[in-house]
């Protein structure tokens, strides 16, 4: 029993679980198509990374490594920023195209070009509506 407890020290099983979370997120990212789900998958991958890092910090006898913990804190804040921006993009995309999925394939050669450098540029009707309001 003691031996088992030693083998399953937090410094080992948490990083292992973190690696599995990372792989799980990767799997979800490949398989799912809805953009919100993809953002969730990336967040789960990120949590996996943080779990590995904190698990590593907790290895050994002494107090946990404060540098690793500080890095994790930084990472969490970066993750929430990226998530917030990604979600804003998702909403924008849904507003323009009506879809919260990725448009497949390479750029369309016949799609209209919006050139912001031109005076009479015509952005999406959505944008115009916003301006009129």
């Amino acid at each position: 029993m003691e031996w088992l407890a030693q083998q399953l020290a937090p410094g080992l099983i948490y990083p292992t679980a973190g690696a599995i979370l990372f792989a799980l997120g990767l799997y979800g990212l490949i398989r799912r198509h809805h953009l919100v789900l993809r953002v969730l998958a990336l967040n789960i991958m990120g949590s996996g990374v943080f779990m590995v890092l904190l698990g590593i910090a907790a290895r050994g006898e002494g107090p946990p490594d404060p540098v690793a913990q500080a890095l994790t804190l930084t990472g969490i804040v970066v993750a929430v920023s990226a998530t917030a921006f990604a979600l804003a993009l998702v909403v924008r995309l849904a507003r323009i195209t009506g879809q919260a999925m990725m448009l497949p394939g390479p750029p369309d050669d016949d799609a209209p070009v919006d050139d912001i450098s031109r005076e009479e540029h015509a952005p999406s009707t959505e944008y115009e509506r916003e301006r009129r309001e």
């Binding site: 080992l12 948490y14 990372f22 490949i30 540098v67 804040v77």
Partner: protein, 331 residues
Amino acid sequence: MSDLLLVVFDLVLLVGLLGVAWRCLASTDLFRAVVLFITFGLLLALAWVRLEAPDIALAEAAIGAGITGALLLVTLERLRSIAVERRRGRPDEPPDPAGADALLHALHDPPPPRRTFVPALTFALVVGGLMVTALWHQPDAVGLEPVVDEHMGVSGVDHPITAVLLNFRAYDTFLELAIVLIALLGAWSLGRYDRLPARPAPGPILPGTLRLLVPVAIVTGVYILWAGSHAPGGAFQAGAILGAAGILLVLARPRDLPMAPSTPLRLGLAAGVGLFLAIGIIGLFIGPGLLGYPPEWAYPLIIVIEVAATLSIALTLVALFIAGRPAGDDH
């Protein structure tokens, strides 16, 4: 015996975490996925406590589960209202014929095609397996704890994580504040603020609770900020709590938000990075180098930076929740 109990606890927690993550990524209903993700965040906070990282647990609960959860939920609500609008058509526009099942697509993701199953699974298994192998070969405890410990005396604070964040690796923390700001600039560049789709329940309950909770949140935020110099806590956790209070206030009145005038708002958003850099540049000229402080001044300077950072983070998180840029910005 207690060791064994802890191992059992660890295993149950980790299996639970993996199970929740799996269910989240496998669900076809987006709302369910988001709720499971928030649960996942709270369980993670528990895991961080178990790994002796109370600071991270606080941050995870407030930022990872709380703020991210709120962002996800409001995103679903926005997607829903976009789909509803498309289905109905607008006053000056005929209904979108393709929008008939837009609502379905907005908040549901059909089960993925079978043909990606084997390749995706194999790929994930290989990546995960290799990482686990690498981790199992690693030595015990090689971290920087002793180095940090040695320098705590000249860091200006008593809490090692705050010392790392705001002194030893202040550059990272500065850039982290910058990233929060850049995310907001990015969200603002996408378009103007439009009304939040959620309607608050009419009645006295919500305003009453807010009158109670917001002051409590402010007190808690300030306490956590102050505690950061000697105990778990600090600018990010405090900023997240204040930001959450702000989001609650925003949610309570989605119709006409009093948008702050552009320049003061932007000053507030950039106060954290601005002050941080200003102090950092002074450090460049008086000796310790860019983003350094003389040891005797370290404590007050760190506190000043943390207060500004807390304010900026709270404001930025609220602004990220609102998402569009304020109307006053375009005049």
